[in-house]
Structure formats: C-alpha cells, structure tokens
Symmetry: C2
Amino acid sequence: MTIEAICTPPEAAEIEARRQKAQAEMAAQGLDALVLFNPDNVFYMTNFANFVHERPFLLVVPAKGDPIFIMPGLEEPHVISRAVGALEFAPYREFPAPEGEGWDAKLTSVLAGMSKLGVEPDCPFFVINALGGRHQSCEIVEDLRLIKSPWEINRHQYACEMMQLGMGELLNHVKPGVLAMSLYGMASGKMTQKMYADLPSANIFSTKLQAGAQPQAISHDPHNFTDLFIPFEIGGPNVALAAGKTNGYGGELERTFFLGHVPDEAKRPFEVMMEARELAFSLTKPGAIMHDVDLAVNNLLRKAGYGDNLLHRTGHGLGVTAHEAPFLAEGDHREIKPGMVYTIEPGIYIPGIGGFRHSDTVVVTETGNHNMTPWPDSIDELTLPV
Amino acid sequence: MTIEAICTPPEAAEIEARRQKAQAEMAAQGLDALVLFNPDNVFYMTNFANFVHERPFLLVVPAKGDPIFIMPGLEEPHVISRAVGALEFAPYREFPAPEGEGWDAKLTSVLAGMSKLGVEPDCPFFVINALGGRHQSCEIVEDLRLIKSPWEINRHQYACEMMQLGMGELLNHVKPGVLAMSLYGMASGKMTQKMYADLPSANIFSTKLQAGAQPQAISHDPHNFTDLFIPFEIGGPNVALAAGKTNGYGGELERTFFLGHVPDEAKRPFEVMMEARELAFSLTKPGAIMHDVDLAVNNLLRKAGYGDNLLHRTGHGLGVTAHEAPFLAEGDHREIKPGMVYTIEPGIYIPGIGGFRHSDTVVVTETGNHNMTPWPDSIDELTLPV
C-alpha cells in the first residue's frame, strides 16, 4: 500500500464517485431522494463545511441528476467558494422568513412529486415533520463513509503526520512543573500554524488541531480536563493526546508517558495495556468482526485482573470527523474490510495510579493493517529524561 | 438595571429554578417527561457541556422529582465534576454495547409506565424511534431560554467585556500589510488566556473565543474566511468580529472600520447602516414584535436604495450559545420582553465596495434596552491612524 500525505480538497471525480455510489444504492432501495441534514454527510457529499445552527442546510440527492442544496441565501457565495462537484442551488430567505419564503417552502418545492425519501438516523424531528410521512430511515451515506478511498487514506495520512508533529511538541516540552495549559497552547498552536502554512486556504470550519496532556493525577479519568493548571510531576503515568481534523479529515495519536522513571505500580498495567494493543493489531484484518476483536481484547484485560478498570471500547472510526462508525466495540457486528480507518486504543484506568492508553490511527489493508501513527511506543522511549 | 460581570458556574438554586419552571409547564401540557438530547438544552438544565457524538447523552426530566441523566459510563466522573443541581445517574455500557446494555435499554427502563413524552424540535430520528410513538414536539426548554435571569445577564456581561478585549486587540494591531491570519491568532489567544486566568476551571467544552477581521476585499461576503492571508490595505470598509462563548455564555461585537481614511464611496453606506442601527435600537423595547423591528429596519435600507444589498436579518439571540432564538427577523412574531438578549446588526453588502455592519449584544430592560458592548462606534473613532 502506497500512501502519500495530502491536505488539498477533493477533485470533482472523487465527489462524483460518492454520488454515483449513493444513487446506485438508492435505486436498489427504491428511493426517490435522500434528504441529508447531518453536516458531516453534507461535507462528504459536497466538500462544503458548515456549523449546525438555526439556519438549515439540506442536501437533497435525487434518484438521478445533480444534488440540490437548500441553504440560506446569505451563504450562497460561501457555498460556491467551497463546494466541489455539480450542484443545483436553492437558496432561501433569511431565517425564519415570512410564510412561504423559508427553508421549508423550498424543501416542499424540491420534493414535489416524490413519494419515498431516505433520511439519516439523526435527522432532526422538525425536518421529518416537513416530509409528510414520506420518510424512512436509511444509512446510505453513513455506509459509504465506512470504507475510505485511496484519496481519503492519503488525507488521513496527512492528518496523522500532523498528530505526530503535535505529539513531538508535547513530549519535547513536558517537564516537571510545566502546566497542562501551557503545553496545550503551544502544541495546538504549532499544529495549526503548520496546517495554514501548508494550505493557506484550509477550511477553518473543518480544521481543529488540538494536542494536550493529562498529568498523572487525572489520567485515570480520560475526559477530565477540569483543571488545566495542574503541573506535571516526576513519575506517571501521564497521557498525551493529539487529535482533530485537518481541512476535513481526522487523525488521532495518544501515548502514555513517564517523567524520569516508571513507578513500580505502573509497570504491570503498562505491560498489559501493550499486550492488549498487540492483540488488537494482530486481530485487525479483513473478515474479522469488530465485536470479536473488542471482546478478545476485553477478555485479555479481564483475565489480567483489570475488569473493573475498563472505561471504553478498543477503538472508533475516523473519517470526515475524528469520531465515527465503525466501532471496534462489543455490539458492533460489522465485518472488518480493507479501507476502514479506525483507532486502536485499549485502556486501563486505575484511580490513584492513573490511566494507561496508547491510541493509533490504523487503516485496514488487503491482508492486515497499517499503523499511520508509528510513533516510538515502548516504555523506554516514553520514559522522558527530566 | 445593575449588571455585574461574572464567569463562574451557576449555583444549584439557578438550575433548580429552571427545572421548576420546566416542570410547571410540563404539568400544564400534561407531559409525563421531557426527553432532552440537544447539548445546549442539556447544558442549560445541568451545567454539563458535551460534544455531540455517537454516544448519546439524554436528560429525562420527569413530571416530578429529579432529572435522570442517561450517559456513557465513561463520562460519569466527568458529569459529576461539572453538573449542578440534583440528578439521578443512568450510565450505560460503552457504545454501541451488546443487546440490552446500551443507551436505548436505559431509556426504555427510565420511561417505563410513561405515556406522553415531550421531545425537542431537533430531536434526532433515532431517539424518536426509541419512544414507541409516545412523543410530541415541545419547546419548553427553548422557550425558557428566551428570557435570561439576572444571573444570566451578568454572565453575558462578562462575555461582552471579553469581546471588547478582543476588539481592542484587533483595532490596536491592524495596520496596512498585516494578515487576517496573524490578527486572528493574536486576538483570539489573548481572549482565551484572559478567560483561563480569570477562571482556571472554565470549561473548554463551552468556551470558544474568537476575534478576527475581514479586509475590504472580502468584507461584502460576511461568512467568507477562505483566504486568511489577505493583507489589510489603506481604506476600507473592513469588518472586525469578536464572538463566542465564555464558560457557557455568549457575546458578540462587530465593527466596520477604516485604515487612514474613508473612501468616498463608503461614506453613504456607512451612514445608512448607522441610521438603520439607531432605528433598531429605538424600536427594541418590551411589547414590540421582533418581525416588525426587522421589517422597519429593512424598509429603511430599501428606501435608501440598498434593497439588493441585504443578506441577513437585523439580529439573533444569544444565551448558552452564540446564535439562537429569538430572531430580530421578518417571520419571527414573538413579542419583545425584558430579559431577552440579542444582537442588533443590520448590514449592507456591496460587491466591489465592501461590507458595512456593526453588531452589538443588547439586553431588553423594563423600559427599553441596554447595549452591553458600548464600544466607540462613530466613523471618526473607527478611522484608524496608519
């Protein structure tokens, strides 16, 4: 597998291929149109990124022909400047708009004569209510997003190299006494600067680069960022995180590290975490079931005595977001296929001792997998001099 | 009206008062429970902020008693560290979870025996589908959020002072040749540093402080941030923006400014914009209708010959977001009431000449309104020496 890091927007052919696949599946399901509201799905199908707010953006993909984009008139030049691939425009008057001039009137008009409409699982109730009972849940775009094209894998590669840049900054600058806050600002700033230096037109609506680290005192609680003014101390485990999106594509890299030395009580959990990780890598190959991989990893951790120290699944997908399906998790019965991109990150969390987690972004190949974040990961490499 | 800038989280009494009001309205509507998914509504009712992702957070507010928070088990310590007011916890096993152990099983159990459930207008389809047809659309929390408590107004005051800090940074540092990108980084960084210096425990999930400026070349297109590397030049109009959330409460301040001198073709649009703004301030008082204010402002702009240069409404509400109801817009037939907080920002956009918009955050008082962003706004003050 040859992978080349790129960060530029897609060519029209990339977007058109997605639309053709969606329309083929719509034909199979007998749908007259797909009504897309989820901004990540809209981005995937158009390269146009927006924040969800009260002004709806609705992409209607008909059974044949170009998609119609219902959007605030205010945003038309913005859409033109970013969208890739053929589109029809259906701008509506400023929200909420007088009766008959708003988004709902446009939608009614665009969908006239259609009787079977696919909507996303997370379609908002107010959109459903505008469809007159013609809707049915469908995951056509969500399913397309599960398998990345070669171009998308190149985009993830860039994101992963950016995460390695951020991780390098974190590990080079963390010392006893340094505050999590200052590390965060420095590393995130460096990544963001690099992104815009590489691509001045990178889209700020689909770019978010963050790198930070949790000191030992809170590393047992992986979403605890309540105190950014805790200084790092000798020992560990501390957990460094670099994650986010680079002009529309996600990456993630996390490492457990120590300052000066590894406390005795941290040695075994680190080793077991590494064994669980190796197991997950070895099981990640086409034909395996996501559920089975997580179950095997969890069983290894449980047998080692850490059944009460598990907080999350083995991994989650990435794509045009940094967190999406598929899930390397008990309960996700999807088959692993080439082109899937997801994290491998089994973790052990022990209050009073700390958190143990490495996270890598991995792409499934024809025969196994390729780690896109191959950072030095051994306990020796991650025990930093002070 | 005495307003004091504060940025600390609410006391339990503030949150409890919201719940009591919601439950009183639920009783009036005969609802057994409210099922809240929208993260801004959840934050408003709990002080817990989260990103929406695949792991649902659902707050069930029963007709009587404490709300029940259905959330990923992983997040329980995080919820405990942030939530304010009494709550029952219903953590579920890591998403998607084996059959019977996920969020949907918890929801079914919490809602057992209930027959009439209120859901938000933007409730996702997959949540609706888990309710067995017992749902009806209801805007109880959305309606509560329209009127700010004295405590909330104090929170907005802090946000607005932060926006003034950012605006000061922008206007002090912008010069011919400076890039939009470097201004953005500097001003946003200064605001963010101040936030965490004032309140080290400020919540990064509900804090986003951004200040930047559009050079004349793109200021006619208000959401155009496609090129952050355009240098500012002598003349204008340029538009400076400071907006975002400070530990959960929003503010917005925007100003049209010039470098060195005001080009002749920019003088009349600036004056007309200022007249439209004065009209909007004069009409903003209890008892007026939002629609009527926008219509009057738009008519003034149309009569002045700028009917083809209008892209947006006169204003939008702020609260626990930086963009929410009510809307000072044609089509919003709500009555203006004391305690509403919204922007006043009529704009004129002329391709080739530029954009003209001041935006202020305003609170409606018993007798009129109070401008929370009273920055110097005249053309003389905003024509900066070069």
